[in-house]
Structure formats: structure tokens, C-alpha cells
Amino acid sequence: MVKTWQVANLYILTHIGVIFFLYPDNMIQAMEVSHWIGILTGFLLHIIVVWSYIKGLSLFDRRNVVDIFLDAGKWIAFLLLAPVFVYLLAVIVISIRSYGEMITIIFLSSTPLWATMLLTAILAAFLAMQGIEAILRTGLLLLVLCMPPTLFVLFSSFQHVDWHYLLPLFEGGAFQWSFVYNRSFLMGLLAVGGSFVFLGFVQPEVAFNQRYIRYASFLLLPLYGIAVYVPLLTFGHSTASRLMFPFIFVTDIVEVNWLMFERTSLFFTMSMIAFVLLFISLMLWNAAYLVQKVITVRTWSIVWAIAFVLFVICVSIDDWEQLEKLIWWNTFLRLYVMFVIPGVTLTLGLLYKRKGGAAYG
């Protein structure tokens, strides 16, 4: 079934979920001035990666990456996809762990971390076991429920903005792109290349029109911009770099007098967590899908199994430093997933087309 809108929606929502938490901090740590260059660089990377990926996919007639790679050879497919699997697991662990931590920091100061992580894991697994179509539809429901408060907070977050902080636009060595090797910048790629892999997994059950995904990817640019620039404009770089979750902090100081609630950040954080849950369950489903290609098991059992194992791993991560280490290790896998998988897909696609396979575009 063609579900372009649902796929595009899921693509956007899962990105929103990861953009607003760790990404602002990473970018602010990575650069002192002219953050827009970093943002644009990240965004261009994203565009290149995603576009070549979906271009490659579209050269085949509604097939997913796993099948495409399997055609190239069983062992090639295994070698190509095994890192992806590890990457997915690591991303899930990172997300569950970091968002669990954030939930305890923001809402539940005395609740033990394992409890919040358990909740996250259960919710994500519950959704993931129902399959990709349920995930897509949940995305739609969450769009309807969470988008109004999200937009409201996004707009109101400009309340304390001082536009002078935008300046200077060009300064220093930003154009030498030395920040590209900065650890923080690379860690920030989680928001850039975090969730796009799923686009290659949903077919043939769910088909989509690649053109609209490309349009949708442009929606991400303002989001990247807002996530980084609103804290910068509110606090200035020197203050913002001292904050753990800069964007969440900005939403925390927004004053809305006519609301019965004191903290508008609440709605925003809630919506973000909902999107992140969506993201985690999507990754979980992806991982389960890969397992199912190797051994035949029911979706629900493998999803719960993975979720349980990952939950145990999450619990065994003691502090934030270990987590940062994990994010750092995972960065290499992410670079692999960002460049090798789309690259191989595109190459295989072009070869396939030259051989005169199905002439679909």
C-alpha cells in the first residue's frame, strides 16, 4: 500500500524527537560562533545521505535493503547489515538511557532510573511488536495530539530572544570546517543520521513516493536551526554552553501568563518524549526485522527479547560519562550507516538498472 504521507510523517517526527535534546548541546559545544555553518553542513550531509539512499531504493521495484543486499550475496548482505544491527541496538540503548535520565531530571526526581527506563522500554516494545504499519499510524495520532503543543512552544520559545546574539555571522575559522572533526559535532550526527535507515526497511509492505520524502527533508532545516539558535539567541554562547539541555531550558523559562500551567516546557518535553518513543520503537522494529531475516521467529517475541536485553544493558550503564563513551563509539557505526549503506544501495541500484532490470524510476 502506498503510504507516502505516513512515511514522511514518521520521518519528520522521529527526527524532531532526537533533534531537540542532545543535538543543541552538541552543536553549541562543537563551535563557538557561526553555528549556522555547522547546522548547514549537518543538513547537507543529511540531504546527500537520505537522497542517495532513497534514490538507490527507488531504482528497485519496491524492495527493501535487506532483499537488495541478499541478491548481491548472502555473506555480503550479512557483512553489510551486521554493523547496522549493532548500530540500531546501540542507538536504542543510548536513547532509552539518555531520555530516562532526562525524565528523572525534569519530572521525577526520586523515581529510580530503572523505573523510567523500564517504562520507556515497555512502551517502545509494545508499539514495535505490532509492526511497521502500527508505528506509522501511531505517528499520525501523535502528530495530531502532540503537534499543536509542540508548535505553540516552538513559537513561544522565541520570547526571550535577543537577536544581537546572532552576530557575528562570519568569524574565525568556521569556514575551515575544522569543527567537522570535533567530537561533539560527530556526536551531534545522531540527530542528522539517526533514523533515516528505516526508509529502506518498510518496503514492500509500505510503499512511498520518494519525491515527498525529499520535500519533507527540507522541513528539518528550520528545526535544526531553531534547536540550536534559540538557546544561543536567548543566552549567548558562553551561557548556553554551560547548560545540559539548552533547548529544554529555554522552554522552561518561557512565561505564559494566561495558562493554568506554570511550565510550558512540560508540554514540549512530553511531546518530544512521545516522538522519541516512536523513534525507539521504530529502531526496535528495524532490529527485529533484521533478526527475522536470519531466524524465523514471531515479531512480538523477538521484539520483547531484544527490549529485555537492551533494558538490562541500560540498567548496567552507571553514569553519564559511560553513556557519552557509548555515544562516541556508536558514532563510528553511525558514520558507517550514513555513508556505506546509502552508497552501496545507490551503487547496486545503478548496476541493477544498467543490467536492464525493471525500468521503474
Partner: protein, 359 residues
């Protein structure tokens, strides 16, 4: 899916959900009536020992009583913790709205305290900050004799849609924190004391430079600061020799240039006023001139104070961000602020003369 597997799925979900409940559950569950929600915290530091005064509204049948609790200790959290153990309910700083520093403490430096407030997630960064220029004990005692059963009287004083007034500076914890970290942005925070007829008497505002109180502004000067920053000076009544006017609206335009390392800032503040009272019959031209002159002199005095204290409360440095490199900006306060060349032009428009025709 078969219905069997579906059933199994449900059982799995229900079981895992149920497991979380008896496993202790409800870690943060504490009913609101078992929490004490202080709304004002007064902090003083005497001989290296902190003194914390909390004003806690105590809801009782019908009315809300205000209770004032004091404690002493080496850190603020330690004091709050001590008070909490001694009280019948748990102290929750979540709803803290105002933090009052005794002026002596403010002069000594607020840096550490502000930073710990920012770090703690149970204190909102939106908490207002003010300086109290009388001993905290007498302040709270006087406050309590007024409005005994209105728990939120102190808040209304600072709230924009309630008792706030452009002569009162507004500053919250995060703004003070920003001024401590920023190169070009300082703040002024209000100075208050308990009043005789009204609850609170405004005493102008304090200039905070690098987390310390380094000077103070009169209420009239605070008004200019607010107008300069673009937050409106609406509703403020200005008394002059010959007339009293009410400011209806204000708008500000700035122009900045940098010549030979000397920053120049030209500002134009447009005020729309309405006539309230006149003595004799001064011409409109006269009144306009007088308003501009009055404000001009206040502005000059602010600039003088800024240069003297090296605290950029008008955030003038912000305008030169594109003219200076980051390293230069870092030394804005020392190198450039004292040399800042400021010109301001007040354009006064008498929008109307009230219900009377100008004679």
C-alpha cells in the same frame, strides 16, 4: 496474527505493567497537601553562615496563613533540608517565586548561590530575584502584618499582569546567571523594603556586575533602563516642574558605529505621553522639552554609573558584536565600555491632552 499469539501478547504486556506497580511504585507520589510550597526565600550571609528565611503559605480552612520559617547553616540546601525534617510536611521549592537577598550579601557576591539555583532542577530558573535593603527578619515580620491571608502578595508585585510597574527592574535567576557568563550583558535587579502604607516600597534597583551588587539606580533610572531595553515604559507617570505626564508608549531605535576602537551608540527613544496635570499654563513645546531634558539627565547618570561600575546593564555591548572579534568581546567591559560614546535623543510626542482642551 492468530488470536492465541494475541492473547499471549496481552498477557505479556499486562504482566510487565503490573510488575512495576507492586515493585514499590509511586516514588514521587506525595500529595500536594503534604507538601509545603514556599514562595519566597530570603537569603542572608552573616559571618560566612547562611541564613535562609522561607515564607510558606499554609492553606487552612477558608484562608491561607503565611508562615515564616528560618534556618541557619553552611549551604542553602542543607538549611532547607534541616527545615524540612523539622516540619510536619516536606518542603518543596518547586513553587518558589521570589528570592530576596539581603543587600550586604548581594554586595559580597551571589555567584555561587545563583549557580546552585540553576543547577537544581527543583527550583525554576524563572524565579524572580530582588534585593532587600533592610534585615530579612524585620522585612518578613512587616510583610506578615499586612495581608496575612493573601499568600501571593509578594508575587503580584512582580507580576507583569498584576502589580508590576516600569520603575521596577525585572530579573530572574536565569538572567542573573546569563549576566555572570555573558561578555556583554548585565542586569539590574529591584531593591525593595517593607513599606509603611503599602506592602512593599520600591527603592530602585541594583546594578549587578559579575554576580555582585556594584551600584544602584533610582526608580526613575530604572524606567529608562526598561525603556531602553524595549520593554515598555507604559503607564509611568513623570512629574516635572510644570507638568505631570503619563507615558503611553515608548519605542527605541539604536544605531551603532565603531571608529578607531571607540564604540559609538546613538539611540532614539520615542515617547508618547498624555498630559495629566499642569501648573500654570506651559506650552506643549515647553513640556516636551522638559520631559526630554529630565530623561536625558537620567540617561547620562546611568551611563556614568555603568562606566564607573563596568557593568553593562543596558547591554550596549550587544550592538557591537559584529564589530568585535570574540576575544575582544570578552574584554568589552574593561576595554570598550569605559570608552563608549553614547548619545540619546528623546523624542516626546504629546498624544493628547486628556479630556480638556489645551488652553
Amino acid at each position: 496474527m492468530g488470536s492465541r499469539s494475541f492473547k499471549l501478547r496481552w498477557i505479556a504486556v499486562c504482566l510487565s505493567m503490573l510488575l512495576t506497580i507492586p515493585a514499590g511504585g509511586c516514588w514521587d507520589n506525595k500529595d500536594i497537601n503534604h507538601r509545603s510550597l514556599p514562595i519566597v526565600m530570603g537569603i542572608a550571609k552573616r559571618d560566612g553562615i547562611y541564613k535562609v528565611v522561607l515564607q510558606v503559605p499554609e492553606p487552612t480552612e477558608g484562608t491561607t496563613d503565611l508562615r515564616v520559617i528560618e534556618g541557619k547553616g553552611t549551604t542553602i540546601n542543607d538549611i532547607v533540608d534541616k527545615i524540612s525534617t523539622n516540619m510536619e510536611s516536606q518542603i518543596d521549592l518547586l513553587h518558589l517565586k521570589l528570592i530576596l537577598f539581603e543587600d550586604e550579601f548581594a554586595k559580597e557576591g551571589l555567584g555561587d548561590v545563583i549557580e546552585s539555583f540553576m543547577r537544581a532542577h527543583d527550583i525554576s530558573a524563572k524565579v524572580m530575584v530582588a534585593i532587600c535593603d533592610e534585615p530579612l527578619e524585620s522585612f518578613f515580620k512587616n510583610i506578615n502584618t499586612f495581608h496575612k491571608n493573601n499568600g501571593t502578595v509578594l508575587l503580584s508585585f512582580f507580576e507583569k499582569n498584576a502589580g508590576w510597574n516600569p520603575q521596577v527592574a525585572e530579573s530572574s535567576v536565569w538572567e542573573v546567571f546569563r549576566s555572570m557568563n555573558s561578555y556583554t550583558h548585565d542586569v539590574s535587579i529591584p531593591i525593595i523594603r517593607s513599606g509603611t502604607g503599602t506592602v512593599i516600597e520600591s527603592r530602585g534597583s541594583a546594578i549587578i556586575g559579575s554576580g555582585r551588587m556594584v551600584g544602584n539606580l533610582t526608580p526613575g533610572e530604572t524606567l529608562i533602563v526598561n525603556a531602553f531595553k524595549g520593554s515598555s515604559a507604559q503607564g509611568k507617570i513623570e512629574v516635572m516642574k510644570n507638568a505631570t505626564v503619563e507615558i503611553i508608549s515608548s519605542a527605541t531605535v539604536h544605531r551603532h558605529t565603531m571608529k578607531n576602537g571607540i564604540p559609538y551608540l546613538k539611540s532614539k527613544i520615542r515617547l508618547k505621553v498624555t498630559l495629566l496635570e499642569t501648573k500654570g499654563s506651559p506650552s506643549q513645546e515647553n513640556i516636551r522639552h522638559e520631559v526630554s531634558k529630565l530623561l536625558q539627565s537620567r540617561y547620562d547618570s546611568i551611563i556614568g554609573k555603568m562606566k564607573a561600575t563596568r557593568a553593562d546593564i543596558l547591554a550596549t555591548g550587544q550592538y557591537f558584536r559584529s564589530n568585535l572579534t570574540r576575544d575582544q568581546l570578552e574584554h568589552w567591559r574593561e576595554d570598550y565600555l569605559p570608552r563608549l560614546n553614547c548619545e540619546v535623543e528623546f523624542v516626546t510626542v504629546i498624544q493628547n491632552t486628556g479630556l480638556l482642551r489645551d488652553s
